[in-house]
């Protein structure tokens, strides 16, 4: 349990990112059957969040410290990527007062940033530990 505490934290944050991206802090909704630009940003965030959550689960299951560190590096890179999706990689709606700007983007930024911090600490700790083991 103690060994996997950072992995569990990574999984929980990734799960919140995945589920929250289409529920609590979802982007603007559809209007007259048309989706706005931010909808595709939301889909991309959900997909990356799900992949990150799966990676975090794999990181918990594996026993090898080196592999754990490797997966943590992957999670940190994915989390950094998810931060730049809304507004940079995929554009959002026109006005800053819209939900995708005021709720969706800040929430993704905050959760993504926390995930990056946890995953970087996890990766650094894993690399140091695997260095000592070998």
């Amino acid at each position: 349990m103690k060994k996997n505490i950072l992995g569990i934290a990574e999984f929980l944050f990734a799960a919140v990112l995945t589920i929250g991206s289409f529920t609590v802090f979802k982007a603007c909704g559809e209007h007259e059957g048309k989706f706005m630009a931010c909808h595709w940003a939301q889909n991309a965030v959900t997909l990356i969040g799900a992949v990150t959550a799966i990676l975090a689960l794999v990181r918990i299951v594996f026993k090898n410290t080196g592999i754990k560190a490797g997966i943590a590096i992957g999670i940190s890179l994915l989390s950094a990527a998810v931060i730049i999706i809304p507004g940079h990689v995929i554009s959002l709606c026109m006005m800053e007062t819209m939900r995708c700007h005021s709720i969706f983007r800040p929430a993704v930024t905050v959760i993504g940033a926390l995930l990056v911090i946890i995953a970087v600490i996890d990766a650094a700790a894993g690399i140091i530990k695997s260095g000592k083991e070998s």
Binding site: M36, M94, M95, E96, R105
Partner: protein, 400 residues
Amino acid sequence: MRLRALPLNDLRRKPIRTAALTVIALVLSAAVFGGEILIKSLQKGLASLEERLGADIIVLPEGAENKVDLENILLQGTPGYFYMDKSVADEIAAIDGISQLSTQYFLVSANAECCTAQVQIIGFDEHSDFTVKPWLKEVYDGSLKDNEIIVGAGLSTSVGHTLSLYGVECKAVGKLERTGTGLDTAVYTTNDTVKRLIQASADRGIAVLSKQSPEDVISSVYIKAAEGADIDELAISINTQIDGVQAVRTKTMMTETADKLNVISKSITVLTAVVWGLAAVIMLSAYYLTANERKKEFAVLRTIGFSRKQLSRLVLTESLITAGTGGITGVGLTVLVIVPFLKAIEQKTALPLLMPSHITVSLYGAAVILIVLLTGSASAALSAYKLSHIDTGKILREGC
């Protein structure tokens, strides 16, 4: 074991106590920092709104709903429109005590092509304007040509890009500075372009929200009083001499907002003070109780040669570590929560919020961390004194 590592090892030995003290410091720093940033953002937002309006008096068509509509446009960015006859501007200009006068025409767009959002379109007179151009962040050459617009800072359209309004591609040639007001999401253009937009909406069969042309009507008149003129007197003159209009002093219009802001600021200040007081009392009690618990440990340290100064330093270092960790984490978490969600807070409170500069925020953060460190050390000072003055022999003999 090295002596330098002793405070950290002590903290590790009592994880619950350490976590509790760190969380108290975290809550304290988050409350003080968050409260301060919100108050400063509110003050800056209101000052910005006052500056942004740039006029002493705004004249609107008579009717309370028009004043509410204008406040909604200014504070929340809710698009709105109201009209009065254009001849009103000439009648106002004839009144003494006016230095500058400029008219504006409000139009609400149908949903812009990309999004389900209505945009406030403001047609303004470039020659007499003194409220829009001073806020231009990116200045364009010359005057606005056909289908050229100036966009507020809250719109993602960049200078050189186009924005489709009623199917007309309008080129953004200027962008205004961020003001934290509803005007950040407005689009400014000439009355000729407004006319073209109205025509385009009719051609496309879109139910345009305005059927009145800027040739015949205006929405508001912005007035700058002449130097030495009594602004209240001027407003009264306009209200009594011209029918069907209401002249509102911009300061009066903002009084309600300022009152709301004062109540919020005071509540935040009181809450912050309460949290601070509580945190200081809890910290003091925690260190005081810990001092009783650790008498034996300190007696042993004294017998192996620790001086009183070293024991005091040990307690103070422990308090600095917990307060520092909690303080930095609290400030960091507050930045993560408040800075990105400021727009959402602004929308919920319907108050103008404008974040202070990064340097100011950083300075506040550093000051709050210092305050938390001082509170932590002051709370630990009493127990440091108590522990460094224990009767070693008595404690070791009696075991308590």
